[in-house]
Symmetry: C2
DNA sequence: ACCCCATTTTTTGGATCCAATAATTAATTA
DNA sequence: TAATTAATTATTGGATCCAAAAAATGGGGT
C-alpha cells in the first residue's frame, strides 16, 4: 500500500499551507511518521525538501518548525513575484506568442469573464477562478521561454500565500472579493493585449502592478511586528 | 569518520559545477556512493536536493542526469538575476543603508579597487575579486530586508554559471578580463552611490544592467542550438 | 528469422537497525 | 539549597535489508 514517496511531501505541504500545521509548530520525525502511517525515511526526505522550499526551518537538534511568515515577508514576496512575472511578460511579448499559447490565453480570459458576468461571487467561483488564474500565469511564464523564471518562482509559489489563503477565501467578504478579483481579471486583459501587440515594457509594467492586486484589498494583520497571520496555538 | 551528511551534497555540487561530472552525465546511486565511500542513503538525499536545486534531472527509472545548460538558459538566468538584484538594490535604497552595511560596502569597494590599481589581473586576483564581488552582492540583498529575494536567488546561484565558470577563469584572456572586471567594479561604485543617495530607481537600473556585465564579454559557444558550454564526453 | 512472452537483473524507495550527539534530568557535593 | 557533573533519554543521520517495478535479455514459438 505505501507505494507513494512524493506523496508524503505533498501531504505535508498541504497541511502547512492550509494551516493544519500552524506557523511555529514544531515537527519531529517520529510523531509525523506515525501520524501519516509511514516510516521515518520518507518523512526525513520530505522535511528536507520542504526546508529547501522554505516552508520549514531546521532547528539544530530540535526537529523542524513551520516557518512563521510575517506581513513584511509577504509584501516582499509579492514584490519578487512582481519582478519575475513582469520579466516573463516582457520576454513573452518580445518573443511573440505562438498561435497555441494565444488560443489558450484567450480561452482562460473567456472562462474567467464568464465567472464575473453574473455580478457576484460564490466560494466555488473563487476556487474556479484561482485555477484559471494559475493557468494564465503559468502560460505566460512558459511563453517567456525562460526556465530560470520558473525555477525562481518555485520557492515563491507556496511560501507567502500560506498565511493569507484563509483570508482570501473569507466568505464574509465576498462582495469586496468580487471587486478585487474583477480588477485582477481586467488586468489580465491588459496584459494579454500588450502581449498581442508585442509591447514588452507595457506588459512588464502591468504584470508587475498586477502582482499587488492579489493582496491589495486583503486585510493583513494590523500589527507591524513579527506576528504571523496564522497565529499558532 | 563519515560524520558528514550535508558534506555529500556540497561535494557532488562542486563536482557538477566544476565540470568533473560533465553535463549530460548519468549518475546512479550505487556507483556514486562507492565513489564517495558512503552508503546509498546520503547519496539519495543529495540527488534529491540537487535535483530540487536544478543541477540534476531525474530520469524515471534511469537514475539522474547532470543538467545540460544551454546558452539561452544562461542568458535567461542572467535576466532573472538582473531583476532580482535590481529589486534588492531598489528596496535597499528606499529603506536606506544602516551604518554597518554602509561601512561594509565601502570596505568591499576599497578592497576591490586595490586589485585593479596595478593595471593587470592575475588568476589569484580574479579569485579574490569574485569573493569580494559575492560579498558586495550579498550585502545588498541583505540590505533590502526582503528574504524572498534570497530564496529566489538560491536556485539561480549555481545553475547558470556552472558552464561558464571555466570561461570566466580562462587565463589566456586575462587582458580582456581586466577591462570587463574593472567595468563591473565601476558599476559597483555607481550602485553604492545610488544607495547612499537613496535613489531607488537609479540603483535598480544600474544593478539590472550590471547583471549583464558578468557575461557581456565572455565568448559563449557559438552555435545557437542546444549545445552546452560544457560538452560532455 | 522475427516477434512475443517470460525470466532475470537492475534500480529505486521504504522500513528497520545502529551509532553518535545533544539535551534534559537527577544525583551528589559543596 | 544551589550548582556541577554524570547518566539517561530523545533525536538525528548513516547503513543495511527488503519489496516492488521496470528494463533488458534470452528462449521459445510461429
Amino acid at each position: 500500500m505505501p507505494r507513494e514517496g512524493q506523496a508524503v511531501i505533498s501531504i505535508l505541504r498541504d497541511k502547512i499551507v492550509s494551516g493544519v500545521f500552524p506557523a511555529g509548530e514544531r515537527l519531529a520525525e517520529i510523531p509525523t511518521a506515525e501520524l501519516l502511517g509511514v516510516s521515518r525515511t520518507p518523512v526525513r526526505i520530505a522535511f528536507r525538501a520542504l526546508a529547501q522550499e522554505g516552508l520549514l526551518i531546521k532547528l539544530p537538534r530540535r526537529g523542524y518548525q513551520v516557518r512563521k511568515v510575517t506581513n513584511d515577508e509577504i509584501l516582499g514576496a509579492v514584490e519578487v513575484r512582481g519582478v519575475l512575472e513582469g520579466l516573463a511578460a516582457r520576454q513573452a511579448a518580445e518573443k511573440g506568442l505562438t498561435e497555441d499559447t494565444r488560443v489558450q490565453l484567450a480561452e482562460c480570459l473567456k472562462n474567467a469573464d464568464a465567472i464575473f458576468e453574473k455580478g457576484y461571487l460564490t466560494e466555488e467561483d473563487i476556487e474556479q477562478y484561482n485555477v484559471i488564474n494559475k493557468q494564465f500565469h503559468d502560460l505566460i511564464i512558459n511563453a517567456s521561454g525562460n526556465p530560470a523564471i520558473q525555477s525562481a518562482m518555485q520557492l515563491n509559489e507556496h511560501l507567502p500565500f500560506a498565511s493569507v489563503n484563509a483570508l482570501v477565501f473569507n466568505p464574509k467578504q465576498l462582495d469586496r472579493e468580487f471587486r478585487r478579483f474583477n480588477f485582477a481579471n481586467m488586468q489580465h486583459h491588459v496584459v494579454f493585449d500588450a502581449l498581442l501587440k508585442q509591447q514588452g515594457a507595457r506588459a512588464e509594467a502591468v504584470m508587475k502592478e498586477h502582482a499587488h492586486a492579489t493582496l491589495s484589498q486583503v486585510d493583513l494583520c494590523e500589527s507591524p511586528d513579527s506576528r504571523t497571520c496564522n497565529p499558532s496555538k
